[in-house]
């Protein structure tokens, strides 16, 4: 169903939303290109879920516009619903029905029937490796399998945009990796743009581009490599009893900006490993541990927000 390809798959313009006096999204603009694997990353409660709910027509935003394939979610939600597939954080499968029955009613909701529907169900279930569980009640499937059936359900009507909200919550690391393998494989089997919200930075690493969303704001947008490149060189983290004093002293003595994040001293240096002995010599007995690492997306978050990446309240 890839019509109107001159439009971005997802376009969000100056979007804002508040629940009562609480600001959930404050002035976010971004667009996702056709065929991208795009991730919204950030702490829980940061506005990711609200943004996805706006895109899936469940919430009318307070201000701004959002479009799916050029169709406005406010003006024409019915058409948008034909174009999107959604996988929510909470399971949407009926546990009392079998996988096939769940997919069948989903097909019916989208106006699919009979043979063509049956063939699509078979195709999606086998692409996601759950064809052999088609006749099992969803209740008896493992968490990982349930999520894959959920994914098959979201793809059944061949949406042009697939929206996923924390799809791997509750899965063990193995299940998570497997689910992401399936997501990445979609680009070769489906003509679909994928937007995933996650609070796990390492999940976002494998995406084409990511948007870091925190406290309702867009704090970074770009390819993971490009974002990490903002941090010049390495990230050194020091554990100490008096972080404030150490940070000031390091900044003065080495002309290298040191900040205190969450009780630890954090330094960005191009020459990480060779800088470590100099630090150790300069402050004997005052540093409990020194960690050097290549920058991660968490470092990008810290770099941009000045805060440690920690999960807030669940949204």
């Amino acid at each position: 169903m890839s019509t109107e390809s001159r439009f971005p798959a997802v376009e969000v313009v100056r979007l804002g939303h508040r629940f009562g006096s609480k600001v959930a999204i404050a002035d976010i603009s971004l667009s996702v290109e056709r065929g991208e694997l795009f991730s919204l990353v950030g702490p829980n409660g940061g506005g990711k879920t609200t943004l996805l709910k706006v895109l899936s027509t469940l919430i009318r935003p307070s201000t701004g516009d959002a479009r799916i394939d050029g169709v406005d979610v406010l003006a024409d939600p019915a058409r948008v619903r034909c174009q999107i597939g959604v996988v929510f954080q909470h399971p949407s499968l009926d546990e009392q029905l079998t996988s096939r029955e769940n997919l069948r009613y989903q097909g019916h909701l989208h106006g699919l029937t009979g043979r063509p529907l049956g063939e699509r169900i078979d195709r999606e279930l086998s692409l996601l490796g759950v064809a052999d569980r088609a006749e099992d009640l969803v209740r008896i499937l493992s968490g990982g399998l349930k999520r894959r059936v959920e994914l098959a359900k979201g793809l059944l009507h061949q949406p042009s945009v697939l929206l996923l909200d924390e799809p791997t919550v509750g899965l063990d690391p193995g299940g998570r990796r497997e689910f992401w393998d399936h997501l990445r494989r979609l680009r070769s089997t489906h003509d679909v743009t994928v937007v995933v919200a996650t609070h796990l930075m390492e999940e976002a690493e494998g995406c084409d581009r990511i948007a870091i969303v925190d406290r309702g704001r867009l704090v970074a947008l770009g390819a993971p490599d490009q974002l990490r490149a903002e941090i010049h060189g390495d990230v050194i983290t020091l554990e100490t009893d008096d972080a404030g004093w150490l940070a000031t002293t390091v900044t003065e003595r080495f002309k290298s900006a040191a900040t205190v994040i969450d009780g630890r001293v954090r330094i960005e240096r191009p020459d990480g490993p060779s800088f470590v002995p100099r630090l150790a010599e300069a402050f004997p007995g005052r540093i409990r541990s020194i960690t050097v690492g290549k920058p991660t997306l968490e470092d990008v978050f810290v770099h941009r927000t000045g805060r440690q990446f920690l999960d807030g309240d669940d949204d």
């Binding site: 619903r81 034909c82 999107i84 909470h90 499968l93 009926d94 029905l97 989903q106 909701l109 989208h110």
Partner: protein
Amino acid sequence: MTSLVLPTTTLWWRECIRFARDRSRALSTIATALVFWTLIGFGLRGSFAPAGMPIDVGAVEYLFPGTVIFVVLLTAIVSTFSLIEDRRAGFLQGVLVAPVSRVAIVLGKVLGGSTVALFQGALVLPLALIVGIPITVGGVALALAALFCLAFALTSLGFVLAWRMESIHGFHGIVNLILMPMWFLSGALFPIAGAVGWLQTIMRLNPVAYGLVSFRNALYGTSTAEWVGPGLAWMFTIAFAVVMFAIATRSIRR
């Protein structure tokens, strides 16, 4: 928007399948009703003669139609408990992001609950023969129609309540608070004609009372109430279903 029929049918079908796979739910409602009926019926047998009935019936027979509607009313309203689960899980969200009209969502759910309730009522109905009610084929059809209206109305009512409820616990309480008086004051336990004046007024305002009269009339093939004619009883029975459904549809729109 896809048409109304396919989504409605598929949501209706889901309710039926779920019911079929949860037999304990079905049996417990029927068992409760039969226990009520037997205990109260045989308990009152010697000391109860229904007032203002054009036909001559004993306590056990008098209570039978009320027992059937109890099964139907309870099953209908309980079928909407799942709406709370559906909202808490992602099921309902999944339906809401599909290109389906809101009316189809309510209709599918309400028709599903009504079907299940009607089925339960139909299971109990043959007991009429044991009691000695002279039912005919046409009578059974009309009786089922009356039960369907009641089921449809109560499922819609349950929908309206469940839509606003956060927990199943709270819903249980509300259901008891509403369902029990509705049933007690419908003429199921005692005829309206025998009640004191103010109670009669309340009972006449109870839509379930008209449904019960329609049901009883259908079973006996004659008018069984002096306080309301068969035509009027039918009108109110049908109106009850239509109005409750309209309210349910409105509640989801907001």
